[in-house]
């Protein structure tokens, strides 16, 4: 079966949204930071074990810590959300509960995955402790740089959208 789903990547700026998509779509990475403005849209088709041929339309949004200001037009028709934070910068996950509430409010039924990125820069044990302390339940801890857990995160989203 053929399906097409719109997936939003949200999160503060510089957390690695663009890099994660680049790793997932073209299996590449750049250390240079080019700030995304507005939205970049790319597509990747994945074949799921269910037999579904899922076309993921990935909306790479300009990073912001003021999620309530995101334009409505960007949010319409969203099927799934990947919320990305940067494990090296507490500022990007300190208010995660508030951020998630805003997201849930805006895209009511869509599944939301929480991804902590840049794991290659830190000691996993430190991150786990930090996240525990802040009561953060992340779904995936990734590195766009090494590719660790990147496919897993996107494919999990794909299979949730297939269901």
């Amino acid at each position: 079966m053929q399906k097409s789903k719109k997936v939003l990547l949200l999160g503060h700026f510089g957390v690695g949204k663009t890099s994660l998509i680049r790793r997932f779509v073209s299996d590449s990475f750049s250390d240079a930071y080019k700030v995304t403005i507005g939205v970049h849209i790319t597509k990747k088709v994945v074949d799921l074990p269910s037999g579904t041929n899922l076309s993921m339309i990935l909306w790479d949004l300009e990073g912001t810590d003021e999620l309530h200001l995101i334009r409505n037009a960007y949010l319409m028709g969203t099927h799934g959300v990947i919320f990305v934070f940067d494990v090296t910068r507490p500022a990007t996950f300190q208010n995660i509960q508030r951020d998630l509430d805003i997201i849930k409010e805006k895209v009511k039924k869509a599944p939301v995955l929480i991804v902590g990125n840049k794991m290659d820069l830190v000691d996993p044990a430190d991150v786990k402790r930090l996240l525990d302390e802040n009561d953060i339940d992340s779904d995936y801890l990734t590195s766009a740089k090494t590719g660790d857990e990147v496919n897993e995160a996107f494919l999990e989203m794909a299979s949730q959208l297939d269901a």
Binding site: G14, I37, G38, V39, I57, A73, M76, G77
Partner: protein
């Protein structure tokens, strides 16, 4: 005419596309992108694939800002407007690439600087935490090591009193030296950690500079003599007598440099010179200078001799070069000054620094007045003609100094005990009016003795006034000594005046 201008202005930047319900191109003016009739927009760009989900949710017209569209090597940043017409869809593409690129560079600069700030703030927190941890560690460590060190020292002492052959005696002597070195090292490490953690605060008080310099001259003439060196002091007569500063720290700086000079000089002399650079308003700028005829410092090491214990164990560096100079550097920095030096191999080294010291106006009469005050205190409070004092002190130098300080008044019989273990016996056998006690004495520490005395069941012993003498820098320690039962604590080094004042205050 108008059309022509309009085309010139917006011609290249707005494209109109008419689509059928399936999203296939019916008509397009192809201003920005080439779209042929029958083309599927979904194939053209994935943005349009998501429209399937968006359009049902949208009103009749919907605008998307700042959408990146790329096709066949062309990349534009656009605003897109979609409008529902009767059984058709109108798409307007505004090419705003230039406008958005400007916005991009603003956002780039803003984001980069915010991220940078966040990372720096984080680094600082981490550094502070590490620093705190290090300080705590050093404090605990030096505290813990004190007990075993004390037993090593007292056992060495006990050992030295047993029957030893010449070789053994020599070894015990080395042991004693090493113990003393270890204790010094421990204190140095503590000082450095306090300076570097900013815990050390200067205490500015008026004091007699000339007396301090004389005390140093007195002490170091003896020390130099012991080391077979000559000591030459040149103290400027124009120096203000009373200055306001942290006497203890100035003393610490000078003794560190002087000790260092004696240590590294085999023959010749140590010169100690203090000269007035200038007086202005109520500030005197004073040059302190200490030069030796020692081996000198190789140029390559000039910088590193001031670095602290993280680097001090450099294997090229002389063993036991100590931490004194990094303490000097840290303390002088606290006093807004800087240690400087010139050195020539095998000729000697000259350390110098300038201090800006406040002095009170008018200057000269004040000390006399103080002395008068002291005299009246002495006269008023004394009931007996002569008092019996016990001095518990193992350092011969300090014994001499205290003796000198007190004997001038001609009011005291002074007994000296240098071993902590013998104090109680002495106190029980002789009725003393006051005890002056060093905290760091062999076998039993001064504060422990104070506690024993205070716990003693008899009046006349349990209430003997005790004045503690200590080199410690810590308020906590001083509080602990007082809690142990000491009436007052005098920090080393002390001036005659301070000692006498304390003694007379507690004599009954």
């Amino acid at each position: 005419m108008l059309e022509k201008y309009k085309t010139q202005f917006i011609g290249n930047s707005i494209q109109f596309v008419v689509l059928d319900e399936k999203g296939l191109v019916r008509e397009s003016d192809n201003t920005c992108f080439l779209l042929k009739t029958g083309d599927s927009l979904k194939e053209f760009h994935p943005f349009f694939e998501s429209l399937e989900a968006i359009v049902p949710e949208a009103n009749n017209e919907i605008t998307f800002n700042c959408i990146h569209l790329e096709s066949e090597g062309k990349e534009l940043i656009t605003d897109l407007v979609l409008r529902r017409e009767d059984n058709a869809l109108l798409l307007v593409i505004y090419d705003l690439t230039q406008h958005y690129n400007e916005y991009q560079s603003v956002a780039q600069a803003r984001n980069e600087s915010i991220i940078q700030e966040q990372l720096i703030a984080l680094k600082n927190i981490e550094l502070e935490e590490r620093e705190r941890f290090k300080d705590q560690f050093i404090r605990n460590f030096s505290h813990e090591i004190r007990n075993p060190l004390t037993s090593i020292m007292s056992l060495t002492q006990v050992l030295s009193q047993t029957d030893l052959n010449a070789e053994q005696e020599q070894m015990v002597q080395y042991l004693n030296q090493s113990n003393a070195q270890l204790r010094l090292l421990l204190e140095d490490i503590l000082s450095i950690s306090m300076i570097s953690s900013g815990k050390l605060q200067l205490v500015e008080k008026e004091f007699n500079l000339i007396k301090l310099l004389n005390l140093l001259t007195f002490t170091y003439t003896a020390k130099a003599k012991e080391a077979g060196l000559e000591f030459v002091a040149e103290i400027d007569e124009k120096l203000p007598q009373i200055v306001a500063s942290d006497r203890l720290r100035i003393y610490q700086v000078l003794t560190n440099i002087l000790d260092n000079a004696i240590k590294y000089t085999e023959t010749g002399q140590i010169e100690f010179s203090v000269q007035l650079n200038q007086k202005r308003a109520n500030k005197a700028n004073i040059r302190f200078e200490i030069s030796d005829t020692g081996r000198g410092i190789p140029e390559a090491q000039l910088e590193s001799i001031f670095t602290s214990f993280t680097q001090v164990y450099d294997k090229d560096k002389e063993q036991g070069s100590g931490l004194g100079l990094s303490i000097v550097k840290g303390l002088l920095r606290l006093m807004d000054s800087e240690i400087q030096l010139t050195s020539e191999l095998d000729q000697g080294t000259r350390f110098f620094f300038d201090l800006n010291l406040k002095y009170p106006l008018p200057s000269s009469q004040r000390t006399d007045k103080k002395d008068e005050v002291l005299d009246t205190v002495v006269r008023k409070t004394l009931k007996k003609d002569k008092y019996k004092l016990l001095l518990v002190e193992d350092d011969v130098m300090i014994q001499t100094v205290v003796f000198k300080f007190l004997s001038g008044t001609d009011r005291f019989f002074i007994e000296i005990v240098s071993d902590g273990a013998k104090v109680m016996e002495e106190v029980v056998n002789t009725q003393y009016d006051l005890i002056i006690m060093d905290i760091n004495i062999p076998n039993i520490s001064g504060d422990q003795i104070a506690r024993l005395i205070r716990d003693f069941p008899f009046k006349g012993i349990k209430d003997i006034p005790i004045i503690g003498v200590t080199g410690t820098l810590y308020d906590e320690d001083i509080a602990a000594y007082k809690a142990a039962g000491m009436n007052a604590i005098i920090p080393k080094p002390f001036a005659q005046e301070e000692l006498l004042k304390a003694v007379f205050r507690y004599l009954k």
